[in-house]
């Protein structure tokens, strides 16, 4: 039959599905054929249109079928390796939760210990700076810019933890409690770095530290040192001194009362004395308040503001850091 003839049709067409020349080209060139994947053996007898369908899973959704290709074997191996990894990990690290804690793991690892270690590392790195803080003269702590920057950051943290309860987060003080603002230019016991350092270290009027700053205003009213009239007069005089509205008729005799009773500490002009912690009375800043009732209360009952000594609570370097922090808040002298 003509169809069995191996020779091509002289008309130049090959019958569909007809014979092809033998595939003898596959000599050395083609020792390895391409990976098959989902393609069946590609031979010259297969036209693209007539290619055999690759195997499917047999599932069909709306005519969409799913090829059933084998997974790559390495994928299987990574799966096994992951399982092995998981087993080893469970043995080495804390894994299974028990009643009160988890299995500890052979390495003894714990995130808690890790945190402790990290904090120790952190402390060790800060230690260099703390050392420098202690070794530097208090008065010149702000001269080294780098050291100052460290001191301000460390001091900020100390202030937030130890000082802000009374002096406020912004160091603006609480007048109702007699806690002074640390931002302005008025200082009870001095505003130099050394003064601030001394005050923080030993505190004010506390019984714990023999070096605490100490002074005591007499309770002029309750102890009967001044009469009610004299107190009224001196209140008016102090108000005059600070430029507030006042009764001039009362203030005039008040000057004499002031000179005899108050000027020893608060000075003749009312400018105060930082050696005695006597506040200036001739300015706009009031520790407890400058209105008549508060002034009268202060004179009658006196005031006794206490600040704890921090040598027991903080390290020297921390005290220095917070001293620098306070000094750079705007009032430092």
């Amino acid at each position: 039959m003509a169809g069995d003839d191996k020779k091509p049709d002289p008309n130049g067409t090959v019958p569909e599905g007809g014979p092809r020349p033998p595939v003898e080209a596959r000599t050395e060139e083609n020792l390895v054929s391409p990976p098959s994947r989902h393609y069946p053996e590609t031979g010259p007898e297969l036209r693209r249109s007539a290619r055999a369908d690759p195997p499917t899973t047999g599932h069909s959704w709306d005519g969409i079928e799913e090829y059933d290709n084998p997974m790559p074997r390495w994928w299987l191996w990574t799966f096994y390796i992951c399982i092995a990894w998981a087993v080893i990990y469970m043995l080495l690290y804390p894994a299974w939760p028990l009643v009160s804690k988890a299995t500890p793991g052979l390495l003894g690892y714990s995130t808690r210990a890790e945190v402790v270690r990290e904090m120790q590392d952190f402390e060790a790195r800060n230690e260099v700076w703390f050392q420098r803080l202690v070794e530097t003269e208090v008065a010149s702590l702000r001269e080294d810019t780098e050291l100052e920057r460290f001191a301000v950051q460390a001091g900020r943290a100390v202030f937030a933890a130890q000082c802000s309860q009374c002096h406020g987060a912004g160091a603006q003080g609480v007048q109702a409690g007699g806690f002074p603002s640390l931002l302005n230019d008025a200082w009870l016991w001095g505003g130099t770095l050394e003064d601030i350092h001394q005050t923080i270290s030993h505190g004010i009027r506390n019984e714990d530290d023999p070096d605490a700053r100490w002074s005591e205003m007499p309770a002029f009213g309750v102890d009967g040192l001044l009469s009610d009239e004299e107190i009224d007069q001196v209140v008016e005089y102090v108000r005059a001194m600070s430029g507030q509205s006042h009764d001039a008729a009362l203030a005039e005799p008040g000057a004499e009362v002031f000179e005899w009773n108050c000027a020893a500490c608060h000075m003749d002009d009312g400018s105060g004395n930082t050696d005695l912690g006597a506040p200036a009375l001739n300015n706009q800043i009031w520790l407890y308040g400058g209105d008549r009732d508060t002034l009268r209360h202060t004179i009658v009952y006196s005031r006794f503001g206490v600040m704890p000594a921090f040598t027991q609570r903080l390290r020297e370097a921390e005290i220095r850091a917070v001293a620098v922090y306070v000094h750079q808040l705007g009032g430092g002298q």
């Binding site: 080209a25 391409p34 053996e41 590609t42 997974m71 390495w74 931002l183 302005n184 705007g330």
Partner: protein
């Protein structure tokens, strides 16, 4: 390999031994490989003078100090939008190239392709071309095979080491790091990075090769969404090649297509596929089958282009006997023009931003706890945290002043006078106090609007920021 009669769940990787090929696309790939590897290995060693206080490496990702240097450009963290813009451009660029030229990224530029190509080249140098490699692979293990394979793996490992090694140089001063690496006191992160990248390069380039593209990489799957019937891709003109058949020398085989079934296109394919089976997900469009087929077509005196860059729409078109559509008509169409416009738009935007950005900057944050402080003389003080940025390679001095309708004094914390110096390439936080004299309008008013002004000494550049002053009426 024939389809297994019994379905297998897992299939082993069948190694591929691409034959050497010469031609246009092979030359293009050599050129691109040289350029890209050159850029990758040389870039960290280019120096760029930025002044004494700054790194002199032209391209440096300084993660520790949060700076990115690119020749004359320095990116700070607050300018990360430049990086975001470049990523958007990279994305749009890939969309553009994919919609116009298909998987051109995969075929020419992807590191996986480039390094695999390099590894195959090494393999060919040491073992010979395809047939020699196949023979050696099939041969039982012996002294010769062990020697050749060990040599090959050593060379691969050295390339991998250089690859992983070059990467770390982008992140720190390259000469210093190189010295540290040789002195064995480099940072552990450098060693770990080099180790990981060396291992992955060695394994992916030497043994995993096409498996990455077929099974691991998501990009080929995404690209399908960006291709359409006009996207140029590599295809076999089966309407011209079929019915394929062997051609004997000097013989004319009428009725036979142009494909002589010489398997050249299959043998050169690094993905191990037969392009004549039509579009396949494995094809990275590297163009090597085009070169292989063109060579054969030249030899048998048939026109080139049996395997060629064509679009899907060409098939319908050419099957009716019409002449081929010009490549340019495929490339320039609304979709690609739109991508180009978007890409160019983002690019122009970034350049514009680069030109208008300032090297000196000031930002002001008012201290609001407390909002003001009364001084002993009755003056009212407000505090401001002023942040001054100097992106120059040398220190710059800023002189601060206040612009207000009412008298307000300016004082800097810890500094005498109004001038503050910001170190090279640094940010400085300076607390600034504004003080309204006792009884002045600003002291008693609730709020006074004013402007802080910084004048930089060298350039005379003026920066102003509006802020406000809270008086006692507050």
């Amino acid at each position: 390999m024939s389809t297994p009669s019994e379905p297998q769940l897992y299939a082993a990787r069948e190694p591929i031994f691409p034959r050497r090929v010469q031609g246009r696309f092979r030359n293009l790939k050599w050129g691109l490989m040289a350029v890209m590897l050159g850029i990758y290995y040389i870039t960290p060693w280019i120096r760029w003078d930025r002044g004494p206080a700054m790194p002199d490496q032209a391209v440096l990702v300084d993660l520790a100090n949060r700076r990115f240097f690119f020749f004359f450009i320095e990116i700070w963290p607050h300018e990360f939008y430049f990086v975001a813009g470049l990523l958007i451009m990279a994305g749009l660029g890939l969309f553009l190239f994919t919609s116009a030229l298909g998987r051109v990224w995969c075929g020419y530029a992807c590191p996986q392709t480039v390094w695999t190509d390099l590894f195959i080249t090494v393999e060919r140098w040491l073992e010979g071309d395809r047939n020699a490699r196949v023979r050696l692979w099939k041969a039982p293990w012996g002294l010769h095979k062990a020697r050749v394979y060990l040599t090959k793996w050593t060379v691969w490992l050295l390339i991998a080491l250089a690859t992983g090694g070059a990467w770390v140089f982008y992140f720190t001063d390259a000469p210093t790091l190189l010295r540290d690496l040789f002195a064995l006191n480099a940072h552990p992160v450098a060693w770990i990075t080099i180790a990981i990248l060396t291992a992955t390069t060695f394994f992916f380039g030497g043994f995993f090769r096409e498996q990455i593209c077929i099974y691991a990489c998501p990009w080929p799957r995404i690209q399908a969404a960006m291709m359409d019937e006009d996207t140029l891709t590599i295809a076999y003109r089966d309407w011209r090649g079929e019915p394929r058949g062997k051609l004997r020398k000097g013989e004319i085989a009428p009725g036979q297509g142009d494909c002589i079934d010489c398997m050249a296109c299959v043998n050169v394919c690094p993905m191990g596929i037969d392009i004549r089976n039509g579009q396949q997900m494995e094809c990275i469009t590297c163009g090597l089958c085009i070169d292989a087929c063109d060579e054969v077509m030249d030899r048998i005196g048939k026109p080139r282009g049996l395997v060629s860059y064509i679009a899907l729409s060409d098939e319908i078109h050419e099957k009716t006997g019409k002449p081929a559509i010009s490549v340019w008509r495929h490339v320039f169409r609304p979709r690609t023009v739109m991508y180009s416009v978007l890409w160019g738009g983002v690019g122009i935007g970034l350049v514009a931003l680069l030109l208008v950005r300032t090297d000196l900057d000031m930002s002001v944050a008012q201290v609001r706890n407390p909002i003001n402080v009364v001084m002993s003389d009755g003056a009212v003080r407000n505090a401001y945290e002023v942040r001054l940025r100097n992106m120059h390679g040398e220190p710059r001095a800023f002189t601060l002043s206040v612009e207000a309708d009412v008298p307000v004094d300016l004082v800097l914390e810890g500094i005498d006078g109004p001038t503050v110096t910001v170190a090279a390439d640094a940010l400085l936080n300076q607390r600034v106090y504004l003080i309204a004299p006792p009884g002045s309008p600003a002291a008693s008013a609730q709020r006074t609007d004013l402007t802080l002004r910084a004048v930089e000494g060298t350039s005379g550049q003026v920066i102003t920021t509006d802020t406000l002053f809270n008086g006692r009426g507050n």
